[in-house]
Symmetry: D2
Subunit: 367 residues, 4 copies
């Protein structure tokens, strides 16, 4: 239960950071979908470590392997099993973290939950590496959504206090993606990118880490999907997004800014645009009453700074039961945001594909 998500398009995650593999089962994908291994690999490549100097030095090729569910290059209606192997494993450093709690790491809460039996190497199940599974199924979800011209786009909105304040038009998502992929930090605007890189460089020299925000937008998502009460789009998107390690907040549309607004400011007026109905602005983030309005679905997520840092910190040695100081020595990302971007897109793709299957908008077989 803990490791599955979705009703029809359902993913089940498995694997550990320093185990043999990271994998995912995808059940409920419609039969007859062209399977594009290369596209999955491309998406994975955006997530993998050691892409550039801003990311972790762990070197993993992260080649996707398909164990089931594909026949003659098409989905069959059977569950897919997709894995990547863990190769560049160095668990030597983790032995000591059984005893010394890393601040803001899961060591203590996992100890309380699993009574010491969890695989702590490389943070085990709690590693960001788990998200590779989400990206693999997300790539398949994106291919389904693309059939309906639905596109998902995320980018780095801010790192630390460096904010990309440019408002983008969402008319040409492919172009935005292209621009984003030219930026080491996955923002779009070149000046913002440069400032963010400088900040990360400084943070890295300080052996520290830094947080940031990710903006995500879904275009051409049909109106009328979602529902009131427990399966509203905000409910299921937020549930999915908080599965990504480091996420500590989410806001839709105007979000926290809406709390300072009057209704007369915040309400999105409806207007006739030729014979189509749309709103003149989108402070609702494309969702009202949990249901899509046909406007872009927009949200922003908050990601805390990486907990692993080499700055010395106060903590407790639970073996000796003493207060001690620790400086983490493993490989880590000084700023995880650039690598979270493809994961956010993937999680949202997974969730929305499921919604569209539940509503019968996407069929169970692509004939």
């Amino acid at each position: 239960m803990d490791n599955s998500f979705g009703t029809i398009f359902r993913i089940t995650s498995f694997g550990e950071s320093h185990g043999k593999v990271i994998g995912v089962i995808l059940d409920g994908v419609p039969a007859g979908l062209d399977f594009d291994l290369e596209f999955i690999q491309n998406e994975l490549d955006k997530r993998r470590p050691s892409q550039s100097w801003v990311t972790s030095e762990r070197f993993e090729e992260d080649r996707v392997k398909v164990l089931s569910g594909i026949f003659e290059d098409r989905t069959t209606g059977a569950p897919l099993c997709l894995i990547i192997e863990n190769k560049d494993i160095d668990s030597s450093l983790y032995e000591k973290y059984k005893k010394i709690l890393r601040p803001s790491h899961v060591d203590y809460s996992a100890l309380k939950k699993y009574a010491g039996f969890s695989d702590y190497r490389g943070s085990g199940r709690f590693s960001g590496r788990i998200t590779a599974g989400f990206v693999m199924t997300g790539a398949i979800a994106k291919q389904i959504l693309k059939k309906y011209k639905i596109e998902i786009f995320a980018y780095t909105k801010s790192i630390g206090n460096v904010v990309n304040t440019t408002k983008y038009s969402y008319n040409n998502i492919s172009n935005l993606i292209e621009l984003r992929e030219k930026s080491l930090v996955r923002t779009i605007d070149r000046q913002s990118s440069k400032s963010m890189e400088e900040l990360i460089n400084k943070i890295k020299q300080d052996k520290d880490s830094i947080g940031g925000t990710v903006k995500c937008v879904v275009v051409n998502f049909p109106a009328g999907i979602g529902g009131p009460i427990f399966n509203g789009l905000e409910s299921i998107i937020s549930k999915a997004v908080f599965a990504i390690p480091g996420v500590k907040g989410i806001e839709f549309g105007a979000g926290f800014k809406a709390t300072e607004m009057r209704g007369s400011e915040h309400n999105d007026p409806w207007v006739l645009d030729k014979d189509k109905i749309r709103t003149t602005k989108n402070d609702s983030g494309g969702i009202i009453g949990g249901i899509s309005t046909g406007m872009p679905v927009e949200f922003t997520i908050a990601i805390k700074p990486t907990a692993s840092i080499s700055v010395p910190q106060n903590t407790v040695d639970i073996e000796t039961m003493q207060n001690v100081r620790i400086a983490f020595k493993g490989r880590y990302d000084p700023c995880i945001i650039p690598r979270v971007i493809p994961v956010v897109e993937a999680m949202v793709a997974n969730v929305l594909a499921d919604c569209l299957l539940i509503e019968g908008f996407v069929p169970r077989v692509f004939k």
Copy 2:
């Protein structure tokens, strides 16, 4: 599926704003729990309209009735059916909103989903009135949590740009609740309360509405509850909280502020406190890796201004397909925050009771 939440402690919502009843089924409540009807009624009273001049003028007594699941004043292990009746119904105004889309109301998205068949009177299933069901089961959940000294407390953190910035100690939750209940706007600090009331009064005179934020904290929640990946506490709390109409954002611990912080600032150092392990601060909001740390679970939610306002707004008449102007004439809350407080507490109680049952921390029978 849309109207149910939880795995063992599972609530199913039904009823419409202008239908006969608002109701809820509660399955999975442990047998042998003393049933305290008065406590449920007290909680409901905090949510009901017409409490004071700051809330809607719809007058409803909201007396809870029990249709099933209780025998000799105790839960039996069978599902409870709890209802309140709708009495002060005036649907005359809503006929026209079939045709004229109310800005930032669900009219358009519901039309797209239900093709015009949904009950639009008083916003039907999308009414905030639905949350009375969450409050009824939440009161039962609170009674379960209380057996383990787990307490939940929410208060108004801000209304518009009036922010209650006081930091409260959570050592005496009963006292905080008492102070909060003395405030018409359900904040604690008297000066903040006064400023907030003044703001609402002005907003009301302007026939407008205003948003705000709610801070919620859970104390004495045991460490080790929750999990990585899809059933982390952030995932399930956020899923539940977004079921409350008007919620547009949530952040745990430092939340969006964490995105501007370095790891060395944000990380919560562990420290020995006599023989107990705790952190010296709680920017993690009591949750790391989706699992509770034993520190208070803390989060803040963003609530948009009520969409119903009497200020004239631009919109579309979908019958004539013309751009028109509308000024809403129904009864509404100029600021919903004070009435959302008991709902937030209840939703969190529901969710946490379920977690504790899944983990086997709470038994299936109170012998």
Copy 3:
């Protein structure tokens, strides 16, 4: 969880035999369905007690009341709450069954599960009366299925050793239903009916009870519905059918007889019938690999004799912890089969409506 069934078309059962009501929530019914209260009532009337001398003497009108989900005589997409009231309650007899275990009744197993807190009056949640809820939603499911000409028909195949061995053609289900409703025991063949009535009369005089079998068939069910592994049609039909009190066995197609057959006898040969493909016989019961074949879905269920009898029986007084003898004094059905017929049809209708919604065969809105 225990009291809900289905994924999209989802029923949640509540109420007790001697509580205020028996009720059911139906979530996921498509919006825009004409609501036919009279048809629901007709179905309920087939299930209610005191229909004739072969059934229990408890007198209940069992008038269906709608608490939610209907607006302007159509479904809205919101959950329906349907109830009947319990009126002819006589709980005086049940006080003693707290102490003296009724053989083959749930007294002991419920005691072990609920530690004495369950509502034992009239067997509480374990009463066959609970099935009224299944019948109400089943009537709605039948109306959905009817749009696709799918019809469900069940009849009494045997009571005790009196077996109706006639093979019926399923070309005219309405006619079969009409004939069945002329039989007090809900079989079709008149001679069988007479023999069964005689047997029940004798059993009744003996203050005993008798079991029987029910044959159920679904016609015009489309090929290609269901699936391998855990959601095969046999899996979900059997799960639903065993929810009916007294059911102790189920077999599909040739069932237990198939175990004595060779493959060359049992296999159903495919044949071209004009340009349609069908089998020349149906020992598979219309299901192969968990998926419908387009042939009628056929199964038989075994129902044990009513546990409540007035013949003296050996048992244990758990208060005094003595072996004692007991003769039940409440009202009961000497043979429950005739009243189980509408329940079986309803459960199957519920299950199949859900399957067809999951597959996208039935839309979420009837525009």
Copy 4:
């Protein structure tokens, strides 16, 4: 959804008969369980083909491999991924079954469901080979149950019309298993075994197949597990058992025989046995009202003859749309019963482990 089963102890099946692997994910297994790879392999060995002349000639070693979830020889609380590889694959014969429907095989119903995209080689997802996954997780479930002295035992009750009518005492399950494993057909009684072997030999010479029944019993299962309505033990056991290819019927306790009995015969009298309460017989099969009574859980399942036979049969060529005759040429089991035995035990173990976790009877961590 189709490929997952269970609420806490949850299995997700993947893989195809002629794909790379057969696999299973097991989520929710308690942390801290000793992992006994050898025991899993032993259980698998009972299921694998080519054990003796009575089984299929496909040669597979079926060595279990663990991809995740185990650390330092213990479960960690993370999902396990267990696979076996497919090696002795000969798909050449199956190309033609795309066109010519095999009687009582899934060819037609799968075609209707998956529109021709399913992997038909070796029957793909519909192959009995899928059940290897159930056996692997079932072995782990058995180890959990064993901690509570709960044991599961299945044996061949009949093959064709050869019935093992001996009544066994269930006091020494280990001994019964030992005797059963000495029988090629997995019955216990030596004379029955011999007669069954003779029958299978004859069937094999005739290039035909034969069905049979399996009796399964669970001893030391605690009273009070299960529930009324939808999660009664009969409901969930039957749902699980029908996931095994070839199963066409199930009956609990006296089952279909109960339908010919009077209540006074069928009811199981309670009796004091020293200070324990039990029944003097067990026609209820250890389950009343869906809840265990503390008596052995007993049921019998009906398995149809293998659909694959080399006897010529009438069918349809869907390419030419002609009636044709076919004689199957692949490798198959003339009687699958002996290999189904370990699968039945495993499925029941999976289901019961889940029940006990849901009830909190089994903890989430074995400290």
